[in-house]
């Protein structure tokens, strides 16, 4: 049974204790790599390591087997230190077929470990992957440690007692591999076995085959002469805040945050959406939460989706809509309606690569312009962003709070990376979050028609009157309204006044949000690295490492993109230089220049991949070089 002939055997491979490791699982779309990755994640999280993940799957649903564009990968970075990104370069690559090797090898760090399933390295598969020669037989892998295993036949062997077809039996390959990896990194099989049992409760033979494969992979590591070829790594638990934890994706936390926000606002949640990558999971998750009274409406398009949410808000519920770039573009006109009728609404944009259809499954931060400036007329609205899966929960609640308190649509920017990545999350206690119940007009005051545009002098928010309430009958619409009566008005001065009031209302939110804090570093100095959204992780890691090296650099992470926190201008002007890394061509840079006339150094990347820590580190170094003297 021992098919092993590790090329790296000549090198001495020792048992090693590591601070952190990055593993990339890569295989065919049909090989179940996302599942393998997420189960490894669970087990790793249970062991107390900090971690971050990056699922990287193809645009095709199921591309033909064995092709490079059908490769699905899952990367996990875990460690005993603070982990904020999925890691720049994998230390370990698991390649289930030649195509996976072809696509992923470039990511691996020099000297990293490659585990391949030789059973999948048939001539046909090599061809499909575009290899002219077998890379296991030439010097393609010279710079790496390689472990070649015929995982396919070992899996068939392990599950043969269950009498499955060969095709079905081979489906357990990923579990065999997972078993080996669990052994290699000293993680528990138990949670996965339990999960398999419950998942395949109705198909026990499948559950048993998978468990057998998992155990076989694990046993292989333990019992074969592996010790000569493979190191076992030990990664201790991370020092984290005490509390109850679980792993979450940004889609999960976003859905929960919306449910929590609606509850805190004491409103019915009506979620109108139309499927689109990578926003759909929020729709799916909320559709599954009917026991919370959540209404989800899968509309015929994005326009109907947002309009249904606006209608719900008019009816006294909390309307929420969600999409990604192209869909948000379609909602533009209706967003204007929500702005001018001053109805609460949360609009979630899960950004992806643009322009147009662009790169649906890749991540980007290029819809900030659209969020802040992208409407006809003078149409300001608050824009918030979220920086990590766990953060979505709180930002969603904050978006609901601002929408309801200020009677305004709120744009919430997240992205494909945050939506799909998983991280350990300390479960919050919802009871500890202060509720912000919406208040509705109860009865008419004053003479004449009820005026729905009476304003709270403090927030400038208009009053909210729910259809069904006697005496508060009123009409609203997209035409300009009189400041005094709320009726249609074509008056010149009134339009000026209303435009100013709408602007002042949104600007006034700056008084209701936290002051800008420094994420890492000092409140002034040589260089501030300013980011927003999902670049939080790599920026924070980069700044932290550069600080450790003695550089005077700080990290400022902006969550509130419109209006900016009141102190932001002063804070930023306290640094000699401001660098802005963004996964776009400089959109936050524009905002900072517009608002503060602030010179900034943009660091832009639009390759569909998150920033590497080292990219940011070297940009920091470059910008502090002159100053280090």
């Amino acid at each position: 049974m021992n098919e092993m002939s590790p090329k790296g055997a000549q090198k001495h491979l020792d048992f090693e204790k590591l601070e952190s490791v990055v593993i990339r699982f890569a295989g065919d779309s049909g090989d179940g790599m996302q599942l393998t990755g997420s189960q490894f994640t669970s087990s790793t999280a249970l062991a107390g390591s900090d971690l971050a993940t990056f699922p990287d799957f193809p645009a095709e649903i199921r591309a033909p087997v064995g092709t490079t564009f059908g490769v699905s990968a899952f990367q996990i970075n875990f460690g005993s230190t603070r982990i904020l990104t999925a890691g720049d370069d994998p230390d370990v690559l698991v390649a289930m077929n030649p195509a996976a090797l072809m696509v992923s090898l470039g990511y691996l760090r020099e000297g990293g470990l490659v585990v391949v399933d030789t059973g999948a390295f048939s001539k046909r598969n090599l061809q499909k992957a575009g290899y002219e020669d077998n890379p296991l037989e030439d010097d393609t892998l010279a710079k790496f440690q390689v472990i070649e295993l015929d995982i396919s036949s070992m899996t068939l062997e392990a599950v043969k007692e269950f009498g499955l077809s060969k095709k079905d039996a081979l489906r357990s390959k990923n579990m065999w591999t997972l078993g080996l990896m669990l052994w290699m990194f000293g993680r528990e099989r138990k949670p996965i076995i339990e999960w398999l049992k419950s998942k395949f409760a109705k198909k026990p033979e499948i559950a048993n085959a998978n468990i057998a494969a998992l155990n076989a992979g694990h046993a292989f590591g333990e019992t074969s002469e592996m010790s000569s070829g493979i190191k076992r790594y030990q990664i201790g638990p991370a020092k984290t805040e005490p509390g109850l934890y679980r792993t979450v994706t940004g889609s999960e936390t976003m859905a929960w945050g919306l449910v929590a926000g609606a509850k805190l606002a004491d409103l019915k949640l009506v979620f109108g959406s139309y499927p689109i990558t990578p926003a759909s999971p929020i729709l799916h998750l909320l559709s599954n939460l009917k026991e919370f009274g959540v209404i989800t409406f899968q509309a015929e398009d994005e326009i109907a989706a947002i309009c249904s949410a606006i209608g719900a808000s008019f009816g006294g519920a909390l309307g929420v809509t969600s999409s990604s770039g192209p869909g948000i573009a379609l909602k533009t006109e209706a967003i204007g309606l929500a702005i001018t009728t001053e109805l609460p609404l949360v609009i979630i944009n899960s950004q992806r690569g643009g322009p147009s259809t662009g790169l649906p499954t890749k991540t980007e931060q290029s819809d900030l312009y659209q969020a802040v400036y992208g409407r006809n007329g003078e149409a300001p609205l608050p824009v918030l962003s979220t920086c990590s899966p766990g953060d979505c929960f709180f930002v969603a609640i904050e978006a609901v709070r601002l929408a309801v308190k200020y009677m305004t649509p709120v744009m919430l920017l997240t992205d494909g990376y945050i939506a799909n990545a998983a991280e350990p999350w300390k479960l919050p206690e919802i009871d500890k979050i202060k509720p912000f119940p919406a208040s509705f007009a109860k009865e008419k005051t004053g003479d004449g028609d009820f005026n729905p545009f009476q304003r709270d002098p403090a927030t400038l928010a208009r009053i909210w009157a729910k259809p069904g309430t006697p005496g508060l009958e009123h009409r609203i619409g997209g035409l300009e309204k009189s400041f005094e009566t709320g009726h249609i008005s074509y008056d010149d001065d009134n339009h000026q006044k209303m435009t100013e009031v709408r602007a002042a209302k949104i600007q006034g939110i700056e008084n209701d949000i936290p002051e800008q804090k420094v994420a890492l570093g000092n409140g002034k100095g040589e260089l501030a690295v300013v980011g927003w959204g999902s670049t939080f992780g790599p920026i924070d890691q980069a700044v932290s490492r550069m600080r450790a090296k003695g550089f005077d650099v700080s990290h400022i992470h902006i969550r509130y993109l419109n209006p900016f926190p009141k102190n932001l201008e002063k804070l930023l002007k306290g640094y000699k230089k401001v660098m802005v890394p963004e996964m776009n061509m400089g959109q936050l840079s524009t905002l900072l220049k517009d608002r503060f006339l602030l010179e900034v150094i943009p660091l832009n990347k639009v390759s569909g991949q998150p920033f590497k820590i080292r990219d940011i580190m070297s940009a920091i170094q470059k910008n502090l070089k002159g100053r280090s003297s």
Partner: protein, 342 residues
């Protein structure tokens, strides 16, 4: 529907807002407005439970003139706004007012999906076969050859028939009436309101400024008897001054024909009886057009089914019953969690 039946009886005045009506003098919209203001109190409607939702167009100014709740939304999107509103509060009595441009040009898709979903909305489509508000361009219902600012040499687009479209979209209530017919309109509005589910009502409405008398062929007093047929469920499809003419089915051609009772050996038994539950009959009635056929008015099709918001509400209620006392704290803790000790 929780209608607070109150002691005082409301009148048309209670449904008229204090806003000055801003349609062209002589516009057919006035007659529809008056009719609804008069009819709603008769149906026991309460202004506070009633919402008029509209898009953009002359017709879509309607909500401003009703002393009910109202939302003048954006062009073509009224059905979507109304759907969200109905989901948020199924107890409201919601009327959608739209035009042939608003509801069938830019808004055609929402109309389709609202009808097939069968959302409980009363949809009034004011068909004047023209874009009134934007000063008279031809619309998707304008007949071939319509001269307008954007078709100075005559339009070359085949029009859509609103009721055909509604039937093809799966509407379960389709009716037709005329702005000037103050006797017929209320009967249709009443049926529309009673119908639980999406009610689609096409109203032939005269735009005196840009498309005057486009329906004159069958709406003028003299022609009315011979070119209007008022369909009533269970009654024979008769028309004519003496109700002497009727519709019969030509089985070979699978098409309707006009016969005169008492002529050519035809008796009243040869006349088809209106069955508003038959979608094929409805389609045939919709297809008829002057001068060879009368225009059929009234409820052409009505076959109720559970309305969308009812299904939504029921599904949620069933799940809440199954999983009572939902707790987000519990939900979030359901996954595989671990404790980090201090």
């Amino acid at each position: 529907m929780t209608e607070h039946v109150s002691p005082e009886k409301l009148t048309a005045k209670d449904f008229a807002s204090d806003q000055e009506v801003r349609w062209c003098p002589g516009c057919g919209d006035y007659a529809i407005l008056k009719c609804l203001q008069r009819t709603l109190p008769e149906l026991g409607t309460r202004p506070e439970n009633t919402v008029f939702v509209s898009g953009i167009g002359c017709s879509s100014r309607f909500p401003y003139y009703m002393a009910t709740y109202g939302f003048h939304t954006i062009h073509g999107r009224a059905p979507s706004v109304a759907t969200g509103l109905k989901l948020a509060n199924p107890d409201l009595d919601i009327w959608v007012v739209t035009g042939d441009g608003d509801g069938l040009s830019i808004g055609g898709n929402h109309m389709l999906h609202t009808l097939r979903r069968n959302v409980d909305l009363n949809i009034l489509l004011f068909n004047n076969e023209i874009y009134g508000l934007t000063k008279g361009q031809y619309s998707p219902t304008s007949h071939l050859g319509t001269r307008s600012p954007s078709s100075p040499f005559g339009s070359i687009e085949r029009p859509v028939s609103p009721c055909s479209f509604a039937l093809g979209s799966g509407a379960r209530f389709v009716a037709r009436t005329i702005d000037t017919d103050q006797k017929h309109m209320p009967t249709v509005f009443k049926r529309a309101k009673e119908h639980k589910g999406a009610s689609f009502v096409e109203i032939f409405q005269n735009c005196i400024v840009f498309n005057d008398a486009v329906f004159g062929e069958f709406t003028n007093r003299e022609a009315a008897a011979d070119l209007q047929l008022h369909a009533v469920h269970g009654e024979p499809l008769l028309f004519g001054k003496e109700r002497e003419k009727g519709l019969t089915l030509n089985r070979d051609k699978l098409a309707l024909e006009v016969i005169t009772v008492g002529q050519g050996g035809k008796t009243i038994d040869d006349v088809l009886v209106h069955d508003e539950t038959n979608p094929i009959l409805a389609q045939m009635l919709v297809n008829m057009a002057p001068p060879d056929f009368p225009v059929v008015l009234g409820v052409l099709f009505c076959q109720p089914a559970e309305s969308f918001e009812t299904s939504v509400t029921k599904q949620i209620a069933a799940i809440i019953k199954k999983k009572p006392g939902a707790s987000l704290d519990r939900l979030m803790r359901q996954g595989r969690t671990w404790e980090v000790k201090a």
